[in-house]
């Protein structure tokens, strides 16, 4: 061929191109295999994330074309104009006004087209569509776990945000400590949770499932363990969930292991963890954390509300998963993550606020697990 690039193929160049190409292939997979993880933005489940992913593909295509063109010209010019013995001194070209204007105007046009698409997309995701059914949730960022309060149903829970499918979820973001950021990659990009600001965002899930969320603004020692998830149910399951949450906590049978656990709970845990129920040490009702936590003198609970803990699938800001079925046999808690957590919260999540005066003894752990796992 005339082009000297192909006359002497450079192995290193081909290897480098191959490696780069492989990366592109990995990134381009639309059907992202499950092993690429539940946090990817490319497996979308709702209109906000879809709109954001569409823009990613637009940029990816434009950037790839520019990349190939410009790197290509660079490589061609390096190969074609390399100094060989006998090459005369090159023409001392100081510039070419026409060419320079052209390569200023054309990129400007491309960039402004992208800007137009950007601004259009920006306004599209900023406001939820009108006239569709919606629910309201307040997401409160603590150090280091997420709390969710539903003002319409007056229920508080933690770690899992339940919502019905096909419904707009209006999220109010609240923090009384440092800045956090609320991010569910499959459903929506992030918005920061800033003390003193009333940030809101919306998303909608088009299918049922569990979608992972995480904190995305550096918030201290355990920023890495402040995950949550969005549990999207069909409408019936969601209504059942709401009704269950609105009940006070289950009262354990007298003299059962769980009853002993509830006494321990009142003695050791109730200062930081709320459970709605009757009697001393229990909360009379759910609090709206954005009100309770605004005043440092009011009893804003330091730890998550545990009223219906048994059905949750995360513990302590997602540092551990919670599988209820592994915690039902008090004589075999070796696979029970709740037991592991109670045995050593500082070891699992160093620096978190759960500092027990003394380590819990194994008997105490059995009782507490029995009690908490009874809280359906």
């Amino acid at each position: 061929m005339r082009n000297s690039l192909f006359r002497n193929p450079k192995p290193w160049l081909m290897l480098f191109t191959g490696v780069l190409f492989a990366f592109f292939l990995v990134a381009c997979g639309d059907e992202t295999p499950a092993q690429y993880g539940p946090h990817t933005i490319l497996n979308t489940a709702g209109p906000v994330a879809e709109s954001e992913r569409f823009l990613f593909y637009v940029i990816l295509i434009i950037a790839s074309i520019i990349f190939v063109l410009v790197e290509g010209v660079l490589i061609v010019s390096i190969v074609r104009f390399r100094s060989k013995p006998g090459t005369p001194n090159p023409y001392q070209n100081h510039g070419n006004l026409r060419v320079e204007v052209l390569w200023t105007v054309i990129p400007a046009l491309i960039l402004f087209i992208v800007l137009g698409v950007t601004i259009n997309g920006l306004f599209q995701v900023s406001y939820p569509p009108q006239g569709q059914k919606s629910i309201n949730v307040t997401a409160i960022g603590h150090q280091w776990w997420w709390e969710f309060y539903y003002p319409d149903y007056n229920i508080t829970t933690a770690d899992s945000l339940h919502a019905p499918v096909g419904t707009i979820v209006n999220v109010k973001l609240y923090s009384n400590n440092v800045i956090h950021s609320f991010w569910i990659p499959a459903l929506t990009g992030k918005t920061d949770d800033i003390p003193g600001h009333n940030n809101t965002k919306w998303f909608k899930a088009d299918r049922t499932g569990v979608f992972y969320g995480e904190c995305a603004e550096f918030c201290g020692a355990q920023h890495a363990h402040m995950a949550f998830n969005a549990v999207i149910d069909n409408q019936d399951d969601f209504s059942t969930w709401v009704t269950t949450q609105q009940q006070a906590s289950v009262v354990p049978a007298q003299d059962s292991l769980a009853a002993q656990g509830s006494k321990l709970f009142v003695g050791i845990c109730a200062t930081c963890h709320g459970i709605v129920g009757k009697g001393n040490g229990y909360m009379s009702g759910y609090q709206d954390p954005s009100v309770a936590c605004a005043d440092p003198n009011v009893a804003c609970k330091v730890g998550p509300n545990l009223t219906h803990f048994a059905n949750r699938n995360l513990i302590a800001g997602g540092v551990l998963t919670h599988d209820h079925s592994k915690c039902t046999d008090p004589n075999n808690l070796s696979q029970c993550n709740l037991a592991k957590w109670l045995a050593n919260p500082q070891g699992i999540k160093p620096g978190n606020d759960m500092v027990l005066g003394a380590d819990l003894k194994p008997d105490q752990i059995k009782e507490l697990v029995a009690y908490l796992e009874s809280l359906n």
Binding site: V19, T40, Y91, H94, L111, T118, G189
Partner: protein
């Protein structure tokens, strides 16, 4: 006795050398721009190694899920200091070092306008750097991230501190605030010096539009520093007052606003990143023409795009804040200004390729790094433009996609530009070449390392990995990419070791280079290697943009063929 020759044996008065005549003393008391330039370069490179060790610690901790190399508290100090050290103690001093050494020579001056203030600027940097690093000795290294968002950087009482582990108590933030204030003083002193030197001390005939592009970029950078540092100073003073004088500028519960910090910081922080890249653009604009054997293509466009970038850099700061809940119309404004600033940057890349095109390319070490710069900076520019697409930014801000962007522009860009400058000007500073063979190893390992470390981070961002996580679970699909990035980081480390070996071996027994090893075009090459203390025997008269080329090639001199 008609004539008596009086032979007087001269009496030699032996006196002790004064301090400034000893070897060490001469360096410590120096006000010579060349010596100060070398001191800046050496100091900056030392801190590059410190920041690099911190990077290796981070990558080792993140190589596998649930790593146990660092506790979360240690990790937070390490990643904060990695960013702070690399930006304030490596890039800024090294670029100041090049500016100090090269600019007076390039413009035909004997020294900077204010030699003693020059020395002052260096020593404030030196002690400021020691102060900042000494925080490790107190186990209180800054740990709030290199941009220190409030209220995390506030003391316990100011951030809802009801319980044991909130915010950052202790001296960590104070080390950062006081340290960066000191370093800011150094930069301001240096910038004033550059502005006056460049505007007032150019050789006769060197009008502004005949001075080398590296000098242009240093001039724009100096103005940027002068106008941007006050924002950082104001932000830092307000935070110091919050921390120690009971004020509440950034405390929401008392009527303040955490976002005030972000606006003030990024008003500094965005111009800062152009401060970090523009001199590297300048180095490339010097190296490419010399090693293509033709002039820079479109001098005017490149100079003016530098100025345009300088002005526009003050209009884009909130593109670091797209997720904080600004009104959509404001976000649209910043998306527009960010798009505008992409244009002069793109133009520069095309002009550089236009310089190579039609040339006679000489493949020596400086040229390898200059070409690598173009290739890698392009990637950084493209993923930066991607981040300007606001809804996409909602997904990618605060994720590893941003980490990929910043490292492609800072390592693939600035660092490669710095290495190009070192290989280019080392013979002028020492009279010896650096070894070409070792440079080849350095270059190829570094290119491999940059891509292996930072390209996977684009994908990690797309797969949802946030920044500043000290560890991650093994079940979320991030394992292989993190391991790949760690391998790449160690390859980078090896390439840096090879470079250091090259320096040591070449200082000892490098091949002699003479005064003009590269057959270059600008005035700094019309001196001995190293230059005499007074730089030039006679101040040269300049008639074009390539005065040394003109002197060597009088028949085809630029002033005969071009009008400028």
């Amino acid at each position: 006795m008609a004539t008596q020759t009086i032979i007087e044996s001269p009496s030699i008065a032996i006196r002790r050398k004064s301090f400034s005549e000893t070897y060490i003393g001469e360096w410590i008391t120096s006000t010579d721009h060349k010596q100060l330039g070398i001191m800046y370069l050496v100091t900056g490179f030392f801190f590059f190694l410190v920041g690099g060790m911190e990077a290796l610690l981070i990558r080792t901790q993140l190589a596998v899920p649930n790593g146990h190399v660092l506790t979360p508290q240690e990790y937070n100090q390490v990643f904060t200091m990695h960013g702070t050290t690399m930006i304030f103690l490596f890039v800024i001093p090294v670029l100041a070092g090049f500016g100090n050494y090269v600019v007076p020579l390039m413009i035909g001056a004997r020294d900077m306008a204010f030699p003693r203030m020059n020395a002052f600027g260096y020593w404030v940097l030196f002690f400021g750097g020691i102060f900042l690093q000494s925080s490790f000795l107190f186990n209180s290294a800054p740990n709030g991230g290199w941009f220190m968002y409030a209220p995390l950087s506030e003391p316990l009482r100011n951030c809802g501190g009801l319980h044991a582990y909130t915010c950052t108590d202790g001296m960590n933030s104070d080390f950062w605030l006081l340290g960066t204030l000191l370093l800011g003083i150094s930069s301001i002193a240096g910038s004033v010096n550059f502005v006056v030197t460049i505007l007032k001390l150019r050789a006769p005939g060197m009008s502004i539009n005949r001075m080398p592009l590296f000098t242009w970029m240093i001039l724009v950078q100096a103005f940027l520093l002068l106008f941007a540092l006050p924002s950082l100073t104001a932000a830092s003073v307000l935070l110091l007052l919050d921390r120690h004088a009971g004020t509440h500028f950034y405390v929401a519960q008392a009527g303040g606003d955490p976002l005030l910090w972000q606006h003030l910081f990024w008003s500094f922080g965005h111009p800062e990143v152009y401060i970090l890249i523009l001199p590297a653009f300048g180095i490339i604009s010097e190296v490419l023409p010399v090693f293509s054997r033709k002039p820079i293509f479109g001098y005017t466009f490149i100079a003016w795009s530098g100025v345009a970038i300088g002005f526009l850099s003050f209009t884009v700061w909130a593109h670091h804040m797209f997720a904080v809940g600004l009104p959509p119309i404001a976000q649209a404004f910043f998306a527009t200004s960010t798009t505008l600033i992409a244009i002069p940057t793109a133009v520069k890349i095309f002009n550089w390729i236009g310089t190579i095109w039609g040339g006679k390319i000489v493949f020596k070490a400086p040229m390898y790094f200059a070409l690598g710069f173009i290739a890698m900076f392009l990637i950084g520019g493209l993923n930066g433009a991607a981040l300007a697409v606001v809804p996409f930014d909602y997904q990618m801000t605060d994720s590893y996609f941003v980490v990929a962007h910043i490292h492609y522009v800072l390592f693939g860009g600035t660092a490669l530009g710095i290495f190009s400058g070192i290989y280019y000007w080392f013979p002028k500073m020492t009279g010896k070449y650096l070894s070409e063979g070792l440079a080849q190893w350095h270059f190829w390992l570094m290119i491999l390392g940059v891509n292996l470390t930072f390209f996977p981070m684009h994908i990690l961002g797309l797969f949802g990995m946030p920044r500043r996580y000290y560890t991650y679970a093994g079940t979320v699909g991030w394992n292989e990419l993190n391991l790949l990035a760690t391998v790449g980081a160690f390859i980078l480390a090896i390439s840096v070791l090879i470079f250091m070996y090259n320096i040591i071996v070449s200082l000892k027994s490098g091949q002699k280079s003479g005064s003009d090893p590269w057959d270059a075009f600008t005035l700094e090459w019309d001196t001995t290697s190293p230059p005499k203390k007074y730089n030039f025997l006679e101040i040269p008269v300049v008639r074009s943009r390539r005065p040394f080329y003109d002197k060597k090639n009088p028949e085809i001199a630029d002033w005969k063929t071009v009008t400028h």
